[in-house]
Symmetry: C2
Subunit: 359 residues, 2 copies
């Protein structure tokens, strides 16, 4: 595999060689706070940061000293735990608890309100899918809006497409962006691309105010529907998304686990069915560090040029020019794209009443 | 969905309606030991059973009181945990630690040597795949050998095929069978089918002694390659399997997680490539309660009538006669079958040097 910086001897603790994200300048030193690393104007947040003298893990929901455990009312009765090597950042933003730690086997791990959002060694699974499922389904994506994804990884993947002219990215929490600039500089580098505009603010409000018919694609890389992302799962948001997309434009939203949240998924499908007059589809993939090991996506298109999400017209793995600067894709390929829409029997049966597709 | 016993109001804690296994007679009462529930002749084991007066969970590796946690040298730095409602059985057989508990959200959970093997609400994922991937790939399976799978679920699924004439099932640990008879009687019922012969003994030795060319299919539903299942991952075992299969016969073996154990998988592929002269393929699926949320399968065929595993000739979801007695399939369908062979880019790249297929 080719690395951007030519290094081929990165130490990999986990995920068997899949973790090939180049690390040019990222450090794992323990810091006490964010040291003003960000140059992004703050939007008035009062950031409460817990100072940690030794970076030693302590009371933040772990069920064993030195381990992080993920409890939530969204997945009662089960918990995934990771061994912490070093706590790198812990703070409370205006919106949520933000924590970053060096894990024993997944590299750096970002959690928001106690839920794992990104792991350095495994984050590519979710991000490659949430980006390349929609952008692989339209011929030449030019204008893209990303909601959430303040760590910059979504942006990193969108920038693989040579046709990109304009990306707006709206992240509600500037602390997440600050953490990325400090600890994931190879991802945050995308914020400085001249085609990119970073907006620190509310994604739902941004979409509502957006120019009608402007975007080719909108990617909603949100957290779960409790906390700051709640609005992103409701019908007024989808209506604003549909309005902001061009005819035949596409949206991809994070849409939970079929094993845990079919009631949420069915509601999302019902909303999307009413709003999007092109096609409405559900796809899914595996992510080891997400609850029940899977995550789903709603993929919808507006009325206009037909979009057949199940047969990608623009699969990025077939156009390798991006590999030199960004490294190879680790998960996504055109066959994985097609397979993502194939559902287990029980899910297909439960969804089929809700699925509407004119494709 | 149709239930065998007509009940449609089973309480489901998890997996969103996927858990439709009929429960005719299964109980959740706490017992102190197995009470001689099994009528299967014991093979001389001295079973050491820990008596639990109140069924209260205590020292068995949990990292929080009242929770079970799964630690292993096979997946260092991470652990999956389940909340225990009631401990139902805990014992030490000649081969391994055996534990069964009622979980808060996955129904009854069986662990062997501290690793989750089966959950009542989610077990169907793995079992439907390990059975229907091989049996869906040959026209009319008649003679099947199951190695491991002493809980009886593999057998339950094999018995969906109306063409079945003979099933041998070889389980090394009689305690697992006893636990199943007591707590999963709807699965253990298969042991009493006149076409079924249960052998309590060593699977590798049984295969070595089997009649050459006898079986249409061999299913190896083993635990991980540490402990009693170690031999089932090595070349002499695969050679014996190939000999016991008819020309164009098929084998499906549990083959670990692509995220954790690519080094083991590559070794298995290399062994199979030398042994099986028909075709050698790797498939995978998601299982929420297995480490990293996925499990893989080696699917191989012997020289003879060609087997194209990727295009099932006998998908059981298209032949619904079995549903009346066994309930609907919850995960498997012909499309899921085909999709199981589609691999992420990194895994495909790592495996392609090892994959040998004449199909």
């Amino acid at each position: 595999m080719a690395f951007r910086n030519g290094s081929t001897n990165t130490t990999i603790n986990h995920l068997n060689g899949a973790s090939t994200i180049p690390k040019n300048g990222s450090t794992t030193t323990t810091i006490n706070h964010l040291n003003g690393a960000s140059t992004i104007p703050k939007n008035g947040n009062n950031i409460t940061t817990t100072l940690l003298k030794n970076g030693s893990p302590h009371e933040f929901g772990c069920i064993k000293p030195g381990w992080f455990s993920e409890f939530s009312e969204l997945w009662p009765g089960e918990a995934f735990s990771l061994k912490i090597e070093k706590l790198l950042f812990q703070g409370k933003s205006d919106y949520q608890d933000v924590m970053l730690f060096e894990s024993a086997t997944y590299g750096k791990v970002l959690t928001l309100d106690g839920a794992i959002q990104h792991t350095e060694n495994g984050g590519f699974l979710h991000i490659e899918m949430i980006v390349h499922l929609p952008l692989g389904s339209i011929p030449s994506p030019k204008k893209v809006l990303i909601i959430g994804g303040g760590i910059g990884f979504t942006l990193f993947e969108v920038l693989r497409y040579p046709t990109i002219e304009k990306i707006d990215i709206v992240e509600i929490d500037d602390v997440v962006v600050d953490v990325s600039r400090k600890f994931f500089p190879y991802l945050a580098a995308g914020f400085d691309d001249p085609r990119v505009t970073l907006v620190l603010g509310d994604g739902a409000a941004f979409v509502k105010a957006a120019q009608a018919g402007y975007y080719d694609a909108i990617i909603v890389d949100s957290s779960d529907p409790i906390g700051p992302a709640k609005d992103l799962f409701e019908r007024p948001f989808f209506e604003a998304v549909a309005k902001a997309l061009r005819p035949g434009g596409v949206v991809c939203t994070q849409a939970e686990s079929i094993w845990l949240h079919m009631h949420i998924i069915k509601q999302i499908i019902a909303n999307c069915r009413q709003v999007f007059k092109g096609s409405v589809n559900y796809a899914w993939t595996t992510v080891p560090t997400y609850p029940t090991g899977v995550i789903g996506y709603m993929l919808c298109s507006t009325e206009g040029p037909q979009v057949d999400f199940r047969n990608p017209v623009n699969p990025i793995d077939k156009k390798p020019s991006h590999i030199k600067s960004k490294g190879p894709l680790k998960f996504y390929n055109a066959d994985i794209h097609k397979a993502a829409f194939i559902l287990p029997s029980f899910a297909r049966n439960l969804m089929e009443k809700e699925i509407f597709s004119i494709v």
